[in-house]
């Protein structure tokens, strides 16, 4: 097991390296650099800006800049006033040590801004995740048991609807029905993380219902299809027929032979579905004014806050890779063959 985790971590390294390259290319493509924003400051002089650029290493060739961006430049002496003698220690700590730069609108480190929003996002993605996997596997399996029966047909209709109905539209419709017409649930908006005062879970619950429902609806659709197809394939296997023909009861065949084998590929689905959920959260949080990562990313995008927007790519990728790792470990638990090889 330990070996499996280690191997997966090693495999993730080239991917992480690729992500830093993509992110850095995007940094280069974004107009302006952190220092050019200073031009709006009336007290900034051209010489001062040049000094700042040298201090941040922005005068270096691209490859050096990439290294500075990745590992920082606080191990080098910098010749800030360009008189030929190095005089100041670098200040950047680099991506690998959590320095994603400073947000242009909030004037605070990007990583802090994103990390403090993660709990709020988890508060709606985690329950959705549990609902999707709990209910999704259940419906998918029942649907396979009831192959081509009425339950199966209904489940398939549900999964098609979940695929084709845009989540933001569903959210608007639900708001109109449950918040405006019926008045059962609050309209939108949780208190901001930045506002003071603790909020109890009970107080939060009504705000969470609609975002969770909408977020689950899209995710459950693809999972039902996946579980159903996987279970139907397992049912057709020879060992299932053998189990039936040696006189095992139906429950035993399902419990011991079908379900476990049918759910194995589902475990590999966790990584991609986590990524899908983070993408979904962007839209859902914006509509429901939920103070999580997703809404911040849109606010940052609309304000053209490049360092902050870029931070989301990195944090999102890291979250995805963690999800992939979890699903690999889970797969190892379900399938002994993976553990042994």
């Amino acid at each position: 097991m330990y070996l499996l985790v280690m191997r997966r971590l090693v495999v993730a390294i080239p991917t992480l390296f690729g992500i830093t390259i993509i992110s850095y290319l995007l940094v280069l493509a974004a107009p302006g650099d952190p220092v050019s924003m200073l031009a709006f400051n009336p007290r900034a002089t051209p010489e001062g800006m040049e000094q700042q650029r040298r201090l941040l290493g922005l005068d270096q060739p691209p490859l050096t800049q990439y290294l500075y961006w990745l590992i920082g430049n606080d191990f080098t002496q910098i010749d800030v006033d360009a008189d030929g003698t190095p005089d100041v220690q670098g200040v950047r700590r680099g991506l690998l040590r959590g320095d994603l730069g400073e947000s242009l609108t909030y004037k605070r480190p990007v990583l802090d801004l994103i990390v403090e929003r993660i709990p709020a996002t988890l508060r709606i993605t985690l329950p959705s995740f549990l609902i999707v996997y709990g209910l999704g596997t259940l419906i998918g399996l029942l649907s396979a048991v009831n192959h081509n029966g009425w339950f199966d047909q209904t489940a398939r209709l549900l999964s098609v609807l979940g695929t084709v109905v845009p989540s933001f539209w569903l959210a608007l419709i639900l708001i109109i029905v449950f918040s405006v017409q019926l008045g059962w649930l609050p309209l939108t908006g949780m208190r901001d993380v930045t506002s003071s005062g603790e909020i109890s879970l009970l107080e939060m619950l009504p705000y969470m219902v609609l975002p969770i429902v909408v977020l689950s609806f899209g995710g459950i659709a693809s999972l039902i299809r996946y579980v159903r197809a996987s279970a139907l394939e397992v049912i057709g296997q020879d060992y299932v027929r053998t189990a039936h023909s040696k006189g095992l009861r139906n429950q035993t065949v399902w419990g011991r032979h079908v379900i476990r084998n049918a759910l194995m590929p589902v475990a590999t689905f966790i990584g991609p579905s986590l990524s899908g959920m983070l993408s979904g959260a962007v839209i859902i949080e914006t509509i429901f004014s939920w103070p999580g990562m997703g809404r911040l990313s849109i606010q940052a995008a609309l304000a053209r806050d490049y360092p902050l927007v870029m931070g989301f790519v990195l944090v999102g990728a890291v979250l995805y890779i963690i999800g992939l790792l979890i699903s690999d470990i889970l797969y190892g638990f379900l399938d002994p063959r993976v553990r042994l090889t």
Binding site: I21, V165, P166, S167, I173, I175, I176, I298, V309
Partner: protein, 302 residues
Amino acid sequence: MANISSLSPSYQGDKHVPLRNLFWRRAVRRVLRDRLTLMALFGVIVLVLLCVIGPPILEQALNINPNRTAVTDRYLPPNPAHPLGTDSVGRDQLVRLLYGGRVSLAIATVGSLLTISIGVLSGLAAGYYGGWVDAVLRWIISTLESIPVFFLLIVVTTIWSPSPETLVVLVAFLGWSATARLVRGEVLSLRERDFVLAARALGAPNWRIMLTHLLPNLFPIIIVALTINAGSLILVESGLSFLGLGVQPPTPTWGNMLTDARANFYRGTYLIIWPGIMIALTVLSFYLVGDGLRDALDPRRQ
């Protein structure tokens, strides 16, 4: 079942048809027998026709100018002059819906073509050559897929503020990985087949093997991928436009019409219902057509 019936005496006419044509004929026959797919295909055609030739006719018939704003006509509920009502600046919703459809459908179609082209070319090269070409492509794919696609889209739309044209390029460059993976897998099994060996024995150069021997065999999966992709691109585009990062107003798309309606939903739910229904219907049609084509073109799956 189609295979059995096509062997029956009534299909003897097929005997003199070249084998490749036979495949497509059977596929067409299977589609013609599949009522759901036919309905969806009909749906796609109607949608395209409505959006392409509908607006000018409607403008004539109802005497409407789609870009004319009129303060006095704000938030009119549906009425004979404006069958689906008017929006926050008094523009007719029906005509805007159809113009929006043009933009959404065009982005989906062109975007899907571009996405699939990139995916097919890279998948073909990786699968055929193998070795380092394959290794590099697999690395790029796993990297691209490890970033939640919406975050990536947000970044690129922030850097390159999109017109419909740039949006097409951006979604294509971010969305080709699934097709590339699919094509690569198919090519890996195709290139071991005897006809490839025969072509190589006759001295055919690599490009010729890829273009005239492998590519035609990929058409079934390419066509299916094109359709399914067009459907999901409608969702992506409308989502981005809804968030204000996609196509910018005043150019209407179904997504940004909803943004507008969302801010004022207490004024009229009719402004929210229709764009959503159009999106769902379009995606559903593409999805069903893709599904039906897959069944028709790949009998092994059944």
